[in-house]
Structures are given as structure tokens and as C-alpha cells.
């Protein structure tokens, strides 16, 4: 069973599979509206589908004459089917994320902020919905790579647009602001991939692993090195993205991180939760380690003195984490205990270089701490009076604070002074969690409006 007819049948089956995917990828077929990056994504998928279908149409004609090569040639159909199966996972979630279902002002501002860096001048992001609540476990770089690889197998196929990144958000959280302060981590994955940060880190990775493993090289196998390397590469990327996020949005990222992982529990006096959260897993460094590294950068950028002044248990969490000794961190590889320890030791040697690569990547970006220092009190005063703080009078002058200042001042108000906002309104019970939730919604709404206004005001100023 190796005739052209069989091949034509199997190619036809795949043809229909892709044809139906393409049919579902028409952005103008419904009532939803999409922003330009989403349209670009749908167009890319549609064009890739067209060239794939065109290729499949004549696939059987180009089969090798040598019968020994028949199944080798035929297996390309499974490559294409597997590649399209992977893309399939992202198309519907991207369609679900129409402009009403994403925090557009926040994403547009983050994109503009990223565009300030010469390397990312043209970067844009298509948003997709995910059922994963934990955004920090999404690494969308792989899908961009795969789309590029898939297209390289098809004559006329174009690589995934270099300036188009992917951001996944939990489908239910579009209207949230504070939790969406985790989005810069995902932008970090795009930055990591586009700047090929791994290539800059690789010599340091090699040196770190060598420092630890070379003295015992006689008992080390290539497989051990690969296991060690795989963990370190994964951890390094996650840490890069955390630090990148701190540069992008300041301590709001760390606060959101504490919130999504419910980390106030590490303050338990018995220390058990803290100990538990010190363990690294195969793909991610431990929460405590990641926050320690964030704290190091927050100190360096001048945010720390504001964090310790914040009267919130989130500040206490960060201060407690800062004091955790490095000996508490661990990584367990049950089948090879010493390799787990060595992998972690190698990674710890690498960390200063990851900080350096992040700093080089964001070179020229203002951390936003000075704007925060200048306008924090005014922003919080406006918000606590239910006024959107996009334009405020500061020392008698009309000003438009930067969203880094707006977001962090708002987050600070949410953490330490939500009561002040609620008690100004008659008949509101600040001890009710339901009421607090309602006012948090409004605080987020006003803050998001201020971010949106900032974009309009800046555009107006530059016209």
C-alpha cells in the first residue's frame, strides 16, 4: 500500500482538516471587533493555510520514484498535521479575546512602553484567552518558533511575524487590572526570544555548570549535563521575565505575584509554608527565590524604600522573603540527588549574569520610580475621592502622570488604604468583603481609565 492514490487520499484528509481550521479563522465573520495585532495574527494563519493547502493539492505528484523513500516522504503529512494541531490550540482562544474581552488600555500602554526600546520599536501583541489561571506558566515563544518552522516546510510559507508577540490571559480576568500586572512577564518571554538572550547567557551557563561539574567530571554523564542544562535554561528564562517585568511595571508585578500565588501564607510563624515554597521545580525557580531576585532589582531601582513604607502585609511578605537564607533553596531530582544540588548551585552562579542581560535588554528605559515619587500622593488623593487621576494639579501645574506611577500608586492604595476610599461614601461597610470587592472593581476601573487617558493625552501632545 504505497501508491500515489493512497498518498492522494491521505493528503486529502489533511487538506480538509486544515481547510476547516482556515474557515474558522475569518475575523470579519462575527460581530466582534479585533485590534490590529489580532487581525495580523488571523491573516498570518489564513495565509499559511492557503500555501499549505496549495502544497497539499499536488503533494502526491511530487512523491519520490524510489519506493524505499515512500514512507519517508509520506511522514511529512504527520509533521504538517502535528504543526497545525499545535496552531489549532491558539486560534479559538485568540478569537475569544476580542477588544471587549481584553484589558486593552493596559496592553496598549505596555506595548508603547516596550516600543520605547529601539530593539522592540515595532513590537505588537495579539492576546488570546487561556483556561490556565496561572499566566506565569505560559511561554508563547515556542508557538512562534513552531509556526516559523512549519512554514519553512511549505513552499511560499512565511515565518511568523517577528514583531508580533503573543500574550495569554485567563479568559475570566479581562476587566481586572491588578492581577494583569503579571502580563509584563509574558512580554518578557517575547523579549527573551527576540533578543536571543539565551545566546548571550550560554557562555555563562557553560561556565557555571563547568565550575560545579568539572571537578567531578569522571562521574558525570552527557545525560546529566543535559538534565542540568534543561533546568537551568528554563529557570533562567523565567527569572529573566520576572526581572524584565519589574523594569516594565515596578513593584506592582511583585504584588500581583504575591496575590496570584496567595503568598501571605508564608508569614505563618511555624515557617512551614515558607520552607515549602523554597523548593525549585523542574521548570520554575521557587517563588521565594524569584521574589528575592525581584527584591534585589527593586532595591537597585529605588523602589524598595517605598515598599517598606507601605502599610500592608504584602510588604511584610517581601521583607520576610528578603531575609531567607540561600541554604533554604533546594531542587530535588529523586533519581540523582547530587545532580539536583549541583544544578541549583550552577544556577545560583548564573543569576548575576541574568540580571546583567536584563539590564542590557532594557537599556534606556526609565524605571518610572521618580514619577511615582513625585505623584504618588496626588494620585492616591484623587483616587480616594473617586477622581480619575489622568490629569492632576501638582504644585499648581497641570500634569499627566505616567502609568507606572498611576498603577503603583493605585496598587498601594488598594493594599493599605482601601478603607479610606470606602469611608468617604455614605452607607458603605468597609468590613464587608463584598463591598471591598465592589470598590476594588471601581478602583481598577478608574486606574484603567487613567491609563487609557494617558495614551490619548500623549498622542495629543505629540500631534
Amino acid at each position: 500500500m504505497n501508491s500515489s492514490e493512497d498518498l492522494r487520499h491521505d493528503a486529502g484528509s489533511l487538506y480538509r482538516f486544515i481547510q476547516l481550521i482556515a474557515a474558522s479563522c475569518q475575523a470579519d465573520s462575527g460581530h466582534q471587533a479585533y485590534d490590529a495585532p489580532s487581525i495580523q495574527f488571523f491573516t498570518y494563519i489564513d495565509e499559511l493555510a492557503k500555501v499549505t493547502l496549495s502544497y497539499l493539492d499536488r503533494f502526491a505528484d511530487a512523491g519520490p520514484v524510489d519506493p524505499d523513500l515512500y514512507y519517508i516522504y509520506r511522514q511529512k503529512l504527520l509533521d504538517l498535521r502535528s504543526g497545525w494541531s499545535m496552531l489549532h490550540n491558539f486560534i479559538k482562544p485568540a478569537f475569544d479575546a476580542d477588544t471587549l474581552q481584553v484589558p486593552s488600555p493596559l496592553i496598549q500602554w505596555l506595548t508603547r512602553r516596550l516600543n520605547m526600546l529601539a530593539t522592540f520599536r515595532a513590537a505588537t501583541f495579539v492576546v488570546f484567552h487561556t483556561s490556565e489561571v496561572n499566566y506565569l506558566h505560559l511561554n508563547t515563544g515556542a508557538i512562534r518558533d513552531l509556526a516559523g518552522q512549519l512554514s519553512s516546510l511549505i513552499p511560499g510559507g512565511k515565518g511568523f511575524p517577528a514583531d508580533l508577540g503573543l500574550i495569554g490571559i485567563p479568559y475570566s480576568q479581562a476587566s481586572a487590572l491588578f492581577l494583569n500586572c503579571l502580563i509584563p512577564h509574558e512580554i518578557g518571554h517575547y523579549a527573551y526570544q527576540e533578543t536571543t538572550a539565551i545566546n548571550r547567557l550560554l557562555p555563562h551557563v557553560a561556565n557555571s555548570i563547568s565550575s560545579v561539574l568539572l571537578p567531578k567530571i569522571a562521574s558525570v554523564t552527557p545525560s546529566d549535563i543535559q538534565k542540568c542544562l534543561a533546568r537551568i535554561q528554563s529557570w533562567a528564562q523565567e527569572l529573566f521575565c520576572d526581572l524584565f517585568a519589574i523594569w516594565m511595571i515596578g513593584p506592582a508585578y511583585s504584588y500581583a505575584y504575591i496575590e496570584i500565588f496567595d503568598l501571605p501564607r508564608v508569614l505563618s510563624p511555624d515557617g512551614k509554608a515558607m520552607d515549602l515554597e523554597c523548593g525549585f521545580n523542574a521548570s520554575h525557580p521557587s517563588h521565594i527565590f524569584r521574589l528575592q531576585q525581584q527584591i534585589e532589582l527593586l532595591k537597585q531601582l529605588g523602589w524598595w524604600r517605598h515598599i517598606v513604607k507601605t502599610k500592608s502585609h504584602y510588604s511584610e511578605v517581601l521583607q520576610a522573603i528578603m531575609n531567607v537564607d540561600v541554604s533554604k533553596f533546594g531542587f530535588s531530582l529523586p533519581e540523582n540527588t547530587s545532580l539536583g544540588t549541583d544544578t541549583l548551585a550552577s544556577f545560583l552562579l548564573l543569576c548575576p549574569h541574568i540580571h546583567d542581560v536584563v539590564t542590557a535588554t532594557v537599556s534606556g528605559l526609565d524605571s518610572g520610580v521618580h514619577g511615582f515619587e513625585e505623584y504618588q500622593k496626588d494620585i492616591q488623593k484623587y483616587l480616594s475621592r473617586a477622581v480619575v487621576p489622568s490629569s492632576l494639579v501638582h504644585n499648581g501645574v497641570l500634569c499627566h502622570p505616567d502609568p507606572v506611577a498611576i498603577i503603583n500608586a493605585s496598587y498601594g492604595l488598594y493594599l493599605e488604604a482601601l478603607d479610606d476610599l470606602i469611608i468617604h461614601v455614605e452607607g458603605q461597610d468597609s468590613t464587608s468583603v463584598r463591598v471591598r470587592g465592589q470598590w476594588t472593581d471601581r478602583l481598577e476601573l478608574w486606574t484603567m481609565k487613567a491609563i487609557e487617558d494617558y495614551g490619548l493625552l500623549i498622542n495629543q501632545a505629540t500631534v
Binding site: 490550540n89 490556565e132 515556542a142 508557538i143 519553512s152 545566546n199 550560554l202 563547568s210 549535563i225
Partner: protein
């Protein structure tokens, strides 16, 4: 979206890399032409095969980017080729890069490489389509 998509994507990436090179080699075998990025693609495979020899050589090769950098990808290669055969295949591929060696022997080497890559691709696609079937899943199940 499957939670393990990142791991699976690494297997698929390996399969697609293998197919890309196989496409180039098939053209060479059938028409004798080195099309596209034939030379850098073959050279990358040589470097990967050579780096897999010992722990020390692997450490050395880390100074530059590997073609098959992930653990999943390396274990897949381990499944289809023994350490001795890696060296033999690398030597044959080096001959393939030298345009002045005999065309017929080069085509023979190209065919052998195609069969090796076909095995790699088959395994990688299997691991992609059947999550949990790999050594990786066993080694790193947490």
C-alpha cells in the same frame, strides 16, 4: 490548551528540524542539487552529533548554540543512535559537505542520513502525539 504544550512543542520542534533537513537531502539524492540552507543545516547536525560524545565535549559545546538544545530532544536522539554510530554518521556528513568527493558516495551518505533523521522524526512525532511516552516524562514527573 494542554498544560504540557511546552514540553510537547520541543518534540515537535525536533521533528520539524529533522524534516527540514530531510527535504534538502531528498532533493540532493534525487537531483544532485544542494538547495536552500543545505550546508549550514548539515553542519549543525554534525556539530550536534559531535557534542554528544562525552560530558566534557558537551560542556565545551555549550559555549555556542546547539541545534538540539533541549533535554527532550537529546534523549530522543539517544533513543535512535548509539554513541559509536554518532561518530560514524558525523564523519559521513562531513564528507557530504565536501563538494569534491564522489557524487554517488555522497548520495549514499545522504540516504543514510535521511534514514537516521526519519527515525528521529518518527520518535519525536510519537512523543509529541503521545504525551507521557518519553523518557522525559518519567525522569521529570513531579
Amino acid at each position: 490548551m494542554p498544560a504540557d504544550y511546552e514540553t510537547r512543542s520541543r518534540y515537535l520542534a525536533l521533528a520539524l528540524v529533522a524534516r527540514h533537513v530531510m527535504d534538502l537531502l531528498l532533493v540532493f539524492v534525487q537531483r544532485g542539487e544542494r538547495v536552500g540552507d543545505f550546508v549550514p543545516s548539515v553542519r549543525a547536525i554534525v556539530e550536534s552529533l559531535q557534542s554528544m560524545g562525552s560530558a566534557e565535549s558537551l560542556l565545551q559545546s555549550l559555549q555556542t548554540r546547539l541545534t538540539f538544545p533541549s533535554y527532550e530532544q537529546m534523549t530522543t536522539l539517544d533513543e535512535v543512535i548509539s554513541p559509536n554510530d554518532r561518530k560514524l554518521l558525523a564523519d559521513k556528513l562531513i564528507l557530504l559537505l565536501m563538494e569534491d568527493s564522489g557524487v554517488e558516495s555522497q548520495k549514499k551518505n545522504a540516504l543514510e542520513t535521511i534514514r537516521f533523521l526519519y527515525d528521529v522524526e518518527s520518535r519525536a512525532l510519537h512523543h509529541f502525539n503521545e504525551p507521557g511516552s518519553s523518557q522525559f516524562a518519567t525522569a521529570f514527573a513531579t
